[in-house]
């Protein structure tokens, strides 16, 4: 059925079409335009910054995986190929390599903000726990990714890292043998780390970020400690929004915009 009515309605028709069949537009609007305390602080953007850093890692990692070969004979030459031959390969690899540090640093800054703002307290304890899991998974990403260039630095740093894991009481020897897939670093260790680095742990991180954000939306954003608003107060009354059509309240099909 061809859209009719005003020009605005014609432009918005695809969005209204999607909304009518999925409710997705309303969901996104609810997420983006939800109420937050009026005195939120710039420090509260650190979580979004961390998410952005993770997405940069995910996107650049997907592109790098198109050229990287997780094989003891091919790994280092493929890294050289990415850096020197592939168009903008040096840039994408640099973004992934330096972005990894940015991601870790931002996770710690975000964690510090949550701690200093007291945003880990009831009812947000569970989100703190999920955040700590995300931090640990991020460190696992750093550890497993460091081996992938397969040069002398990464090889021996990973040897030391695996053996540090091996000194953990009771489970350490098993942990070390699990990590390297045997008694020594061997031909399977590199692909093992590669799989952990790009499939196992990122999948878990995506899932936990989903939970993390769900709880942020459900429980709301905390005010800064210096906030003048009393804690636990209800939403501040705002003047009713002017009525509008399109997006979340589509006009009846074939009708006219008011």
């Amino acid at each position: 059925m061809a859209p009719r009515g005003s020009r605005y309605e014609r432009i918005m028709y695809p969005i209204d079409w999607l909304e009518e069949r999925s409710g997705l537009v309303g969901g996104i609007r609810y997420f983006l335009f939800r109420k937050v305390p009026g005195d939120t602080n710039w420090f509260q953007t650190l979580g979004s910054a961390t998410l952005t850093a993770f997405l940069v890692q995910a996107v650049t990692g997907v592109v790098l995986a198109m050229y990287y070969k997780p094989d003891p004979k091919e790994a280092y030459p493929s890294i050289v190929h990415i850096t020197n031959d592939v168009w903008a390969g040096w840039l994408v690899r640099g973004m992934h390599r330096w972005g990894a540090s940015v991601f870790i640093i931002l996770m710690f800054l975000h964690m510090g903000r949550v701690f200093l703002f007291g945003a880990y307290k009831y009812p947000r304890e569970l989100n703190w726990i999920i955040g700590v899991l995300l931090l640990q998974l991020g460190l696992v990403e750093g550890f497993t990714g460091y081996l992938l260039p397969w040069d002398q630095t990464s090889y021996w740093a990973t040897t030391v890292g695996i053996n540090i894991n091996g000194t953990a009481p009771f489970i350490g020897p098993f942990l070390a043998q699990f990590l390297q897939g045997g008694t020594y670093i061997n031909a399977d260790t590199l692909s093992r780390f590669y799989s952990i680095h790009m499939l196992l742990v990122p999948g878990a991180i995506f899932a936990l970020i989903g939970l993390h954000l769900y709880l942020v939306v459900r429980l709301g954003v905390t005010s800064p400690p210096w906030s003048r608003h009393p804690a636990g107060s209800g939403p501040v009354a705002s003047p009713p929004a002017p009525p509008r059509t399109g997006l979340t309240s589509p006009a009846p099909r074939g009708g006219t915009a008011s």
């Binding site: 053996n163 000194t167 061997n186």
Partner: protein
């Protein structure tokens, strides 16, 4: 009519269930330990796990009224439903379907995830079989001198399996050949230790083995990573290592020197052929093999 009458499966679990669940967990734990330690322990763990699981199922069935059959009302399609209120708390059809759907889903999920997870963690519990390695004729190892020998532990894997040993021929004791064969894996965190001497010397090749005879006896061995220092018997003399350097067992066959399995050493008293070596099972770097700290590593995975 209360909520409990309608859904017997929602009733709190009877205490016996928790006991059998704990038994199942303990059985699985023993089974995993047994996989690393010995087959009898593995079998015992499996028996405990299966028995506890069956008893758990039985007690769960009793707890949800599965075990007792209530009087069956004939199905009637006319008139109002017969007195359901009066019927004893048996398992209703919806509760049965709920339980069987969850149970089947759990079984199917377990069939998929358990083998995959076991496949992932299996290397932690499996023995690595490296066959003895031929280092070449004994005549390549002059008596009393150290030779750096590098070889591929698994030639089919190529250079990634290259290992290094410091070999010293101690001559013969009671007609038996004696060798000191020290691994280059630092006992701190596994970096490669170097002989403290001039390494710019010509080397020989025997198949995949590279032999570097050291004309000047090294003053000891040193690690470039964190500064651990060892004497020529592999005893720690300085730095962070927790024990002496590992050694390889060896044997001579057809006048060729063969490397066997490696083992760990707490310390060595004496030198050369008469040295007393305090042997322990092969352990990862950084793990104490003697003293109270060794209690932290009661079980070693098979290496």
């Amino acid at each position: 009519m209360s909520e409990d009458d309608l859904e017997p499966s929602r009733q709190p679990p009877v205490p016996g269930q928790r006991r059998w669940a704990l038994g199942l967990a303990a059985g699985v734990a023993v089974l995993l330990v047994g996989a690393a330690v010995s087959t009898p322990v593995l079998v015992a763990g499996a028996v405990v796990a299966v028995a506890s699981g069956l008893l758990w199922l039985g007690s769960a069935a009793r707890g949800s009224g599965l075990a007792e059959a209530g009087p069956v009302e004939p199905e009637r399609r006319d008139g109002p439903a017969p007195g359901r209120v009066a019927s004893p708390p048996t398992l209703g059809r919806s509760a049965f379907l709920e339980l069987s759907t969850l149970g089947l889903g759990g079984v199917i999920g377990g069939l998929v995830t358990v083998p995959a997870f076991a496949f992932m963690i299996a290397p932690a519990f499996l023995k690595q079989r490296e066959s003895p390695h031929d280092l070449g004729p004994v005549s390549d190892f002059p008596e009393g001198e150290f030779v750096v020998a590098t070889f591929m532990g698994r030639p089919e894997q190529g250079e990634v399996s290259r290992r290094t040993a410091f070999v010293r021929n101690n001559g013969t004791v009671d007609g038996q050949p004696s060798f000191t064969i020290i691994s280059n894996h630092c006992a701190h965190l596994g970096c490669p230790v170097q002989p403290n001497t001039d390494l710019n010397v010509p080397h020989r090749q025997y198949r995949d083995v590279t032999l570097i005879p050291l004309p000047i006896t090294p003053a000891g061995f040193g690690c470039p990573c964190h500064g651990g220092q060892y004497d020529t018997e592999g005893n720690r003399i300085a730095g962070p290592p927790v024990r002496a350097l590992d050694r390889y067992s060896f044997f001579v066959r057809d006048r060729h020197l063969y490397l066997g399995a490696p083992y760990s050493v707490s310390h060595v008293v004496g030198t050369g052929a008469t040295a007393r070596i305090y042997k322990y099972p092969f352990s990862f770097p950084g793990e104490h093999v003697d003293g109270p700290e060794s209690w932290l590593y009661p079980i070693q995975p098979p290496h």
